[in-house]
């Protein structure tokens, strides 16, 4: 990381929505570390279906904020390769309810590569997956299966919230 004061330090406290806070966090990381790369479905031009990456492609370009093909296992599997080879991918699963095709990649590879290779290869990967109800989405869009993931060694499950 760079020695300049981060955007967060400069800004001090500011009121924003949760999703706005996520956008801001991503923006800070994209600016501070050129290894950071965002991948996901509709995250570029459209800014993500929840707008979590709103404006980021415009600011950082198509190489850093990448609209991927519609394939969750593909997004995570490719991100694993990028992460093993010097990048810090942040992959968006459009809805947590659609993360399941990537389950194998997460459980068998992303979290296990460090252990299997005695830390020779590591996978510094962030996966974002929106969950829960309240947005009047169709069925299967509101799955809250984060508890499944808390049972997987090598993975950290983090939920942003207000204090």
């Amino acid at each position: 990381m760079m020695s300049q004061p981060s955007a967060l330090e400069e800004k001090k406290t500011k009121e924003m929505t949760l999703v706005g806070a996520i956008t801001s966090g991503l923006e800070v990381m994209l600016r501070e570390d050129e290894r950071v790369i965002l991948l996901g479905e509709d995250i570029g031009t459209n800014g993500g279906v929840f707008r979590a990456t709103d404006g980021l492609q415009l600011e950082f370009g198509e190489q850093r904020v990448v609209d991927t093909p519609l394939a969750e296992s593909g997004i995570i599997g490719t991100s694993i390769g990028l992460a093993m080879n010097g990048f810090l991918p942040v992959a968006e699963m459009q809805f947590q309810g659609f993360i399941y095709p990537a389950f194998q990649q997460i459980v068998s590879h992303a979290v296990r590569m460090r252990t299997r290779t005695l830390s020779r290869f590591t996978v510094p990967l962030v996966i974002r997956a929106p969950y829960g109800a309240g947005i009047h989405a169709p069925e299967l869009h509101s799955d809250s299966m984060e508890s499944l993931f808390t049972h997987i060694p090598g993975l950290k499950v983090v939920v942003p919230s207000t204090l």
């Binding site: 991927t68 599997g77 460090r114 830390s119 950290k156």
Partner: protein
């Protein structure tokens, strides 16, 4: 019935004609190319490596029977596909093997002890020599194709000329990750070589039950990338094909799918009985197309190797293999506390607690 007037399929040439089998040295030692295209000293090197792999494979099966290692996946018959391709790689390239690709990994840089250790269930068997990008065998079928796309993409973005190669089988082409891998590689034009060893079986399921397409190479039609079908038992043809694909990838030409047509003589693993699903006599008859014997015939006819060459090489290789096998037996037991390390970069509070409790109770 209405006709699909725009369908091109009926007029298409047979896919085996659109993707013809590339061969250089035939089973009887004859060549289909100008002999000046075959570097004899390189071919001798390839032969030596194939011999080493085959003797290793035989030793591993014996060791499994003796209870010295666990279940093992033999590759006898597939040496040329693996070694011809691995010899085309350079330092810094990325190799993603499956459980059956030890002829490739030992050619690119793994030592024999490491491979034996893998089959003894030891984590050390997954760790390549320092600085070498050989990944652990991928066990969930086809998952590694996407990793090879990712590491290749990373190289492309860094502006290097390094490439990734992913090994997989015919059965793997039915998995979603195969198609997602080809599609991502196509979309981002990544320097990735997809090396499919079509040994005609996925455990017990033959190719004709796995897919309706006559070739695997033709699956690239959907992704608009190059597909090539090569005689996987012709080491020089594999080497030549993969070298060209790598050269193309290094120069920004993107991915290639290579179907190496081959055969495994033995069981899927030492836990399986192939007589239940195929005629093993017919399988043995395939030895007339063997990858080692055709090279032996070619080199003998040329007078490049003498009568005693094989015996002499075998003796040297066998002693290397036997030494590695004994080193496995002597390899120190694992330290159980290693299970608490290498899970996270920084140990979590609960992991520290578990570790402390283990230390306390394990020695009571």
């Amino acid at each position: 019935m209405a006709q699909f007037v725009n369908s091109t399929r009926a007029n298409d040439a047979d896919s085996t004609e659109r993707y013809p089998l590339f061969q250089m040295i035939l089973p009887d030692g004859d060549t289909l190319v100008d002999e000046r295209d075959i570097d004899t000293s390189l071919l001798i090197k390839m032969y030596t490596k194939m011999l080493r792999a085959r003797l290793f494979d035989q030793k591993a099966i014996t060791m499994q029977r003796q209870g010295r290692i666990g279940t093992y996946a033999p590759f006898e018959g597939q040496e040329a596909a693996q070694i011809g391709s691995a010899m085309a790689l350079s330092d810094g390239d990325w190799l993603f093997p499956t459980y059956r690709d030890h002829a490739a990994t030992m050619t690119y840089g793994h030592d024999l002890l490491t491979i034996f250790l893998y089959w003894k269930g030891r984590i050390e068997g997954c760790v390549p020599p320092e600085g070498m990008n050989i990944l652990p065998p991928s066990v969930p079928i086809a998952t590694q194709l996407l990793h090879a796309v990712g590491t290749g993409w990373a190289e492309q973005r860094k502006g290097t000329d390094r490439v990734s190669i992913a090994y997989f089988g015919d059965g793997a082409t039915s998995e979603g990750d195969f198609h997602e891998g080809l599609n991502f590689a196509s979309v981002y034009n990544t320097p990735t070589i997809f090396l499919c060893q079509n040994n005609h079986y996925a455990i017990s399921v033959p190719q004709h039950k796995q897919m309706k397409s006559k070739t695997i190479a033709q699956k690239v039609d959907a992704y608009d990338i190059e597909g090539i079908r090569v005689d996987g038992n012709d080491v020089y043809a594999v080497y030549t094909t993969v070298s060209k694909a790598i050269d193309k990838a290094r120069n920004g030409g993107g991915p290639t799918l290579i179907e190496a047509v081959t055969w495994r003589y033995g069981a899927h693993t030492t836990a399986d009985d192939p007589t239940k699903y195929r005629d093993q006599q017919e399988s043995e008859a395939r030895r007339t197309e063997d990858c080692l014997s055709r090279v032996h015939t070619y080199l003998s006819l040329k007078g490049a190797i003498g009568d005693d060459w094989l015996k002499r090489e075998q003796a040297i290789i066998q002693s290397e293999i036997d030494e590695a096998a004994e080193a496995v037996d002597r390899f120190p037991d694992p330290d159980a506390t290693v299970m608490f390390e290498h899970v996270y970069q920084t140990k979590s509070a609960s992991l520290i607690k578990q570790h402390e409790r283990y230390e306390k109770e394990a020695h009571q």
